[in-house]
Amino acid sequence: MLSRAPSRRRVPASVGVLGGLVLALCLVIAVVVGFALRDDRDSAGDGNRIVYGLTLNPSGFDPHIHVSNELGIPFFSVYDTLVYRHPQTMDFVPGLAERWEMSSDGLNWTFTLKRNVKFHDGTPFNAQAVAANLDRITNPELASGKARALLGPYTGYTVVDDYTITLHFSEPYAPLLDGLSQVYLGMASPKALQEYSKNTYQWHQVGTGPYMLKEIVPGDHIILRRNPDYAWGPVFYAEATGQSVDTIEFRFYEDPATRSLALESGEVQVIGELLPTDAELLLGNTQLRIFRVPIPGLPQQFFFNLKRAPTDDVAVRKALLHATNRTAIVDAVFQGQSPVAHGPLTAVTPFYDPAVETLYPFDPAFAQSLLQGAGWSDSDGDGIWDKDGEPLRLTMVFASWNQTPDVAQLIQSQWRDIGIEVELIRVPDFPTLRDYAQRGDFNLIAFYDFGVDASLLNRFYMTDAPNNWSGLSDPELDGWLQEAVRQVDPQTRAALYQSAQERIMEQAAVLPIRDYVNLVGTTARLDGVIYSAQGWWPLLRNLQLVR
């Protein structure tokens, strides 16, 4: 007889079952008690309060350092900038600077600052404060992303007196005012900058703006409180009233499908980047309002790879442009809520050239004739063009943002109808996308950025520019783009950008799809919903919560 188990008393199994259930009950009690003991967020004294849904978790929160557009949504109102762009006229209007002057050689800009302006921590705003900010941004140790880039060929400053400061440049620099009007060059309190290290300042940001940063928990929420002393805003900022919003809580809604649900259930009062189908659906809801906010800059688009067959042949690229039914794409994927894009800039961008609209109409027959002219034919009868034994097969690389996968699938289907095969490669994040770009392992790649000043084009289309993923190299175009940055006169710039846009499209360096439009949903109880000239950033100052 084999030895039995040790003489330990065996635990009855029914006890086991009971034990399991008791354990479950204990866990429940633990959770409940845990919550009972937590102190709830103190919502007393919140006044008028709204929840604003952000859509992307920015990788960092310091406008001087980080590059995301999303962080501007709260922080555009925490800071003031020296200069503002009027959201309707796009003109430059005084901000923290009352007036400014450029020297005749274009190398010096002198700003006269407003007086009686105070930071949220009581520090007075003056030329020394501006100097401290400039020092910080240009300090290589800070590793500033956009802020430094927006200053262009800046070389230094001179503090003329307490309320006058001159900025020096090595070359004339037309986009300066536009750069200065962006949140990345917002003015921070020198006291706070000194008190906190370059990494910890982002949790304790202090500006002069209409809202103050109260609390920030990364990945979870940001809370702003109205600045009751604010009296120096630009001309388009409204006066505070009893219906101004006192507290704004920002939360991160990264999943597009739940945004409309959050809005409908009243959990958020404002949320951006609604899905087009949801926006359509919500149009009928009288308790909500839908806004279509156009964003200046580059449209949603694909760069061609000019250094890789078969997109190295301009005839092929032109054929592809003619073979794409962009209207169908905008109607299907974006429910017609965006304009079709035709060129390298969106239609609301200053210096946009309407002439590009007629360059590439949807004409599949013409596309086919272009391919034939370039030596392509269907020699093996498989329905796909080929040349020298190679089929016309392309790779299209993109990330998941902004419904690009749906756009790509539709393009794949459209091109297949006329005998072009496309392989779709979706990448999960930006570093992977960039890796494809650097290896040149694509024929089309989805990439774009936003901005008001057309000098944005330089980063993408000048030879050897850091984000020139298409490989376009046109010396004449380089000359125009470079000159357009140095010429301050708007007429001259307009002419240069006109040539530039037409040349980019003649070279067929890019496949534009649609102008980016931000679909914003708000509760009908909110008045004064206006977005800044840059498109992404709301003028929180003007919000009024009625009823």
Binding site: T277, V333, Q409, L410, S413, T432
Partner: protein, 270 residues
Amino acid sequence: MGVNGVRHGRLCLALLLLAGVVLLSVLAPWLATHDPRRAVPADQFAPPSGEHLFGTDLLGRDVFSRTLYGGRRTLGVAALTALIALLPGLLIGMAAGYGGRWLDTSLMMVMDALLAFPSLILALALIAVLGNGVVQVALAVGMAGIPAYARVTRAAVLEARALPFVEAARALGARPMAILWRHIAPTVAPPLLAFAGVTLSWAILNGAALTFLGFGGDIAAPDWGIMLADARASFRIAPWVALAPGVALSVTVYAINLLAGVLAEHPANR
């Protein structure tokens, strides 16, 4: 109904459902009414009708045809994923359960480490090294499932090892491999088969979850997991887009689980 009668009934149901699913998938090219990849945007979100049995999706593709073709791909990839999880997991679990304490501890340590390893990173790394493709996602999901199989196998082996007849065999000096094969493996098979049902559905859903989070694969391919993920964005204006793949998936998983259960309890397995 006696126990055997019940088992018989369940077996019939399971086989019937599975046969149906497999048949429909195999016959997809003949049964499909449209090209599953052809986008006709003008027909977007058409409700079910004579022309489109289950309606159309965002890009105007026929949901019925996509569901039919989707079966092949979904089941194929899921089977591959399950296999990638099962075979190594089985071997490791057996070795750990039957081998010495040192082998057990070290193998389980590796399994715990693998379990803790985010499959997202695994997917990224595999795609980086092997390129973008559905096999890579299957590998990433499958590898993440090995520890589960190993643990369950090990637990069952530990159980079996303590059984009287196994102890007897060891006392009589039988070789370990023979014991493993003749005595332990048959005892271990039932709980494993029980777990297998869970694995297949887990494989489908996790593959779709990775896709949902933006990782790899042919996004235009008809695949139940991908279709379900895409349908989320439009479920309020076009709920039928999710209905067909959702029902197909549920029925398939139910049938597989039913079958696995019946096989696990078959007398010959004891």
